[in-house]
Symmetry: C2
Subunit: 372 residues, 2 copies
């Protein structure tokens, strides 16, 4: 299948949201083609819970229908909804380049990459209740921040609002408490991928994050694609991941090629400001899933795991503004001649991704002024 | 009402789980007294979403029924289930004594209390999918750990498995994205409280937690009471919280008395090893709710916010073994003559709480050997 994007939830007019499959600029309504009651739902979760053979059968059926000329609803007649009911949301920190860049900015006095980074995929839990679908306006968050030359924090709208370009994977089939999910069985559990913009207020984050990690600097919103692209459609697009040194512990070893060769770009108010590729990520999806469950933690249908910011090694391939502008020191210039360090009100950010001839669902968001 | 404990979900024999109110050693089945269809559910969430006046009406009706001699099902004939479908789970770090003790142990070379601690209630997101009801066995987690004298981490069952004695509050009525919840309206949103045991694998946590916070050291299980005690039953039990210095920023100021005067204890395999009181916590529930939403993050019915470990200033009032044993250096002695640094397999932990003559739902858990 080419041009296909993935599964999502949509509505037309005031109709109830339902499941569809996006093909190019249109949507195949899966309720009218009677593939089962799971599609008459406001999220993909009932379908995702059915498991891998149902996913594959459905894709075959969709392929037949599209080839056979089934009705496709033009995208512009539809409204897209959040495709999944998110269980837990975990965000990793899988890019060596991003972790090094951020370490240098947040902890200038020590080695940027902390000792644990090459031994385990560092990650943390984000707020699942504020995961929103592409297109949702992003209200500039307020919070506490303290500059290094101030004696006490002040409260106000974030002045260092940033993006994070990420990929996410969505869990279809869950697991039981106490039973780790080995890296080798990832395809039995993970349904597909989305693009993710993990909006970040760097000033709030810098003041709050020690010792328990990011909280309000991230929890105000996380945007995801309206369309989840099944792994099954991406099989040919995985390539060999970077060599890991030291060799990971046995539970993190996995056979096969697990780096997704997906070209990604960040557009900021009309200008593409970053281009990179997800294949450079150090830690891979099966490793992340194995790590997140090795302590016996269970996973659920709808759980979202994101890669963390995807940054390349060259200038112009960083997945966040804090990196692209060297912490605001070197502004970037947009096509209209204006410059940016961090996001300004009314800025629109679009994340796009493509794996071969398959387009991933874009992630779009516009900054709305703070509500104070 | 005295002796009452709160609302929960129970079943008898193989019946479907439903909502009940625990009074002493029995349960009032709320489906048979026909207070509404919301009680014919496997979680409290539909009832919690109704809001404050419905909660108060229900409590009045329960009071009448209990006084009027309605049938009470003996507790031993019932099975308790997880009372809420947890949305997001946030854990704070509200005890000055605990934060100081842990800082000293985890970061011996710097000031134990970090600069942000007195300005904001430090918190992070935990894993909501692994919140379990009291009585659920706790499988000893495996993971990576690295002693300071080792050059690389090793993998295996945690050797420093610990407890954290906490209180949690449960959100009834949610809020909208972008709209902070002021501290003053906490009673319109928060339904009630539970006891929480935030099980912690200290060796896994120490190796993984920088820079993004605790992850696998906590995510394997968090146990909560089977019974949620409504705030409305605790009104007389709030006392003045410790004076805060410096004075908090305006969004964190709140009128009234917000420290819950609840006596708490930790029993370890038959011996009470800690006694403390929740009224000594530095940060209060309305402050935590205001802080968690000041960036515009929304809350949902079923969200769980926990205080973080409750430790007093005297020896024997610490809410974790790492504190009670000075990081395993000074073992504690149990009634049977045995000693403990951290939890051993087959140990049973019971957290109990009492606010005046009102008993909070206990939290019980037994350690099961690691499954490797």
């Amino acid at each position: 299948m080419t041009g296909g994007v993935g599964f999502g939830v949509f509505s037309v007019g005031g109709d109830a949201p339902r499941v569809g499959f996006r093909v190019g600029n249109g949507i195949l309504d899966l309720t009218t083609v009677r593939l089962g009651a799971v599609f008459d739902a406001a999220s993909l979760n009932p379908f995702l819970a059915l498991g891998r053979s149902a996913w594959e059968d459905t894709l075959s059926r969709i392929d037949q229908l599209v080839t056979g000329g089934a009705e496709i609803i033009p995208l512009e007649q539809t409204v897209a909804h959040l495709p999944i009911e998110v269980g837990d949301y975990v965000d990793f920190y899988s890019s060596l380049e991003h972790a090094t860049n951020l370490g240098r900015l947040f902890r200038p006095d020590v080695e940027p990459l902390l000792p644990n980074w090459r031994y385990l995929p560092v990650g943390y839990h984000g707020r699942s209740g504020t995961v929103v679908v592409s297109g949702t306006p992003i209200v500039r968050p307020c919070g506490q921040a303290k500059a290094s030359d101030e004696v006490a924090p002040t409260f106000g709208p974030s002045r260092r609002l940033d993006i994070e370009l990420e990929l996410g994977f969505v869990v279809g089939v869950g697991s039981s408490l106490g039973a780790p999910v080995p890296a080798a069985v990832v395809r039995d559990h993970v349904f597909g991928v989305v693009l993710v913009n993990d909006w970040s207020a760097r000033d709030i984050q810098a003041w709050e994050y020690q010792p328990l990690g990011p909280f309000l600097g991230k929890s105000f919103a996380t945007s995801v694609s309206a369309w989840v692209t099944p792994l099954a459609l991406l099989e040919d697009r995985f390539v060999r991941a970077p060599v890991q040194d030291p060799e990971p512990l046995p539970y993190l070893r996995v056979a096969g090629e697990w780096a997704l060769d997906a070209e990604l770009e960040v557009e900021l108010s009309g200008t593409v400001v970053s281009r990179t590729n997800a294949s450079g990520l150090y830690w891979t999806m099966p490793q992340q899933l194995a790590h997140a469950t090795v302590n016996g933690a269970s996973i659920r249908t709808g759980d979202l795991f994101a890669t963390g910011t995807i940054s390349g090694s060259k200038h112009g391939s960083e997945g966040s503004l804090i990196e692209l502008t060297s912490n605001g020191v070197h502004p970037i210039r947009l096509g209209d001649g204006s410059t940016r360090t961090f996001l300004e009100d009314d800025d629109e950010v679009v994340l796009r991704g493509r794996a071969g001839d398959l387009e991933l669902g874009e992630v779009r968001g516009t900054i709305v002024p703070a509500s104070v």
